[in-house]
Symmetry: C2
Subunit: 432 residues, 2 copies
Amino acid sequence: MTATALIRHLPGLIGQSVALRGWVVTTRSSGKIAFLVIRDGTGYLQCVIAKQDVDEATWETSRLLTLETSVEVSGEIREDSRSPGGVELGVESLATLGPSADFPIGKKEHGTAFLFERRHLWLRSRRQTAIMLVRHEVVQAIRDFYYERDFVLVDTPLLTGAVGESTGTLFETEYFDLGKAYLAQTGQLYAEAAAAALGRVYCFGPTFRAEKSKTRRHLTEFWMVEPEVAWYDSDDNMRLQEEFVSYVVARCLERCKAELDILGRDRGPLESVVAPFPRISYGEAIQRLRDLGSDIRWGQDLGGDAETQLAQQFDRPVFVYNYPRDVKAFYMKQNPADPTTVLCNDCLAPEGYGEIIGGSQREDDHDLLLGRIREEGLPEKAYGWYLDLRKYGTFVHSGFGLGVERTVAWICGVPHIREVIAFPRMMTRLYP
Amino acid sequence: MTATALIRHLPGLIGQSVALRGWVVTTRSSGKIAFLVIRDGTGYLQCVIAKQDVDEATWETSRLLTLETSVEVSGEIREDSRSPGGVELGVESLATLGPSADFPIGKKEHGTAFLFERRHLWLRSRRQTAIMLVRHEVVQAIRDFYYERDFVLVDTPLLTGAVGESTGTLFETEYFDLGKAYLAQTGQLYAEAAAAALGRVYCFGPTFRAEKSKTRRHLTEFWMVEPEVAWYDSDDNMRLQEEFVSYVVARCLERCKAELDILGRDRGPLESVVAPFPRISYGEAIQRLRDLGSDIRWGQDLGGDAETQLAQQFDRPVFVYNYPRDVKAFYMKQNPADPTTVLCNDCLAPEGYGEIIGGSQREDDHDLLLGRIREEGLPEKAYGWYLDLRKYGTFVHSGFGLGVERTVAWICGVPHIREVIAFPRMMTRLYP
């Protein structure tokens, strides 16, 4: 099969004859002229079929086309300032490649369950395609950000014996004669080992939480990027985060204009996302919330509503730092100035999107870390290698995890993160 | 903590005073002068300590340093043409940050099991660091190759109801009230759905095989990149593969010179890896093997030894195409010219590394595909969405999967793929 043109490239081919393959989006016909819009994944193209200019087979084909039929069209590319890409195609021939009877997703409103059950077909819609393209850009921006700064990618394992965040929300599987393996909730602990070898590293892969949660911010399988930096303290860590988030947002503003327009995303709030980000301590956050009428008390974790309330006070993401030790993970470094807190931060996105980053300086003192592992009742033996990092040349280090889906949802202005991954996994969904 | 210099950047800082943090690699001392090599993940630096130039504490510290102690040194960067980076540091002060008593990996030879049990520490070695840096470059090269060619990244799910390659080698986990979920062996089927939406796509993530295999080419968890292209046939597919593999190899030759030198990799064979690659049909491959004395017969799959024998006849990777239907997966397109074969190819790397790519044109005929699903006894319902792709505007399409670890092992010249991933997962290894 010879290569054919892609719709994206047509503006450079005005006046030329091309062949194209794609899928039917809309058809409209009068007695003598038919208009056909096709998509090929790289764009949308209006094709004009004049009855007098084509043979009978082509005209008949054009009248019978249905939604999502795959077709081959050929003809001349003409300038047309009214079209999205500035061109249209004057059809000389048209052939059906794959019929499509009763494509289940039409113009009418469908329920969410109906659409997710047909996610493999729903992905073809203009809105879903735009979201996937923004996600694609976000991921490449993440990779480029770290590559340009000489961070080394280290792929951490998904099948693990040790656990990261919290027991009780783990997927488990039998692992040959070695007992159970758990699906990783984070790559961080492994990234810490790699940081001692390579200095500045990041891991970036899928992570899992077997949480019985149905909020718009939760998936059971989601992607997370986790940088880990030798010799960074908590302040350095926040500086890296604000530089990173600003970079990703700026890149989408620069390269995803068309997609953000399709999604009806107001770019104004995104244009404010410039470092530095405001920083408030956990204590200040509690005071602010109480001033706003909340009855939250020092020591309680911030819930989604509290995060939204706080973030609404700022025009860009805000850091909340140094949470109480008891609401955070065992590996966070005790704050020497106030041992009831740890050196950590969350980064809350504006516009109600809440936490997109959780980060911390890591406990680098062997005995303090061992104490925390014991307090939490974690399996000491499984963490032997992790403790070793504090035994052989321990080092100040910090890192964080950014949730890709939450970030993409925020940038796209999409309310629920299930829409920003191709095949979302939720408590109630494993298909398709 | 203020930022300190990285070893990589020192050649630009000759004559300046800097502070550095890192880990002790070697120490050597005479009565009046001590030499200390430290590493920080970005390079190695020789530090020279003259007793007469430093205070007593620094001199004493220098005498007591042990392998992998973390230290802070400061002093002046001096040109030194004998050093690897062209510079050395004249120490003014030196402090231990984290002691390291009896670091378990020394200069003597250790057994493989011993080293993998201490993988979190072994990663700090010069050889392992070099391998990780090559892997890092390979992965970014892969991402850049597809990004530059407008392929859209689509992250496919790891928790799946449907299966990809073969039953019986799946890890499984309980999934809430939905029964069992399986860890994906491939993202291809999902990538096919995405190709109908976006034209040219790729997925790139970890994949799993619960195989009781102990060869040097197998891991239970490994990374695979899988492009899928609408309107590509099997020939287009092979052209994409040879362009892709050549790109990745060229990029490593260009950007990983130092690492390949550390690994003692002969660059000659890599420099031959230029498209086009030779292509032989499966039938020809059988004939060649028989001519070489093998008793292999038409219809049998090629084993690792046969692959090595074939690949040895060429100076670059070789394609073997159109295998018998019965040794290949159900989704491969029946060859219209010979229905006992399918339109597919493997790509065999030279120097005994064997298969690095498996690819095929996909069966786009609904009824033929359904027939194959039934023949294989696969759960028809779980494949309903996959069959839908042939029901609504079916399309010629092809794709392939390249195994990252096999590719990195080949480029590094490392015999066993377990060494080219930070924390390998094998039948007998889940720790660290």
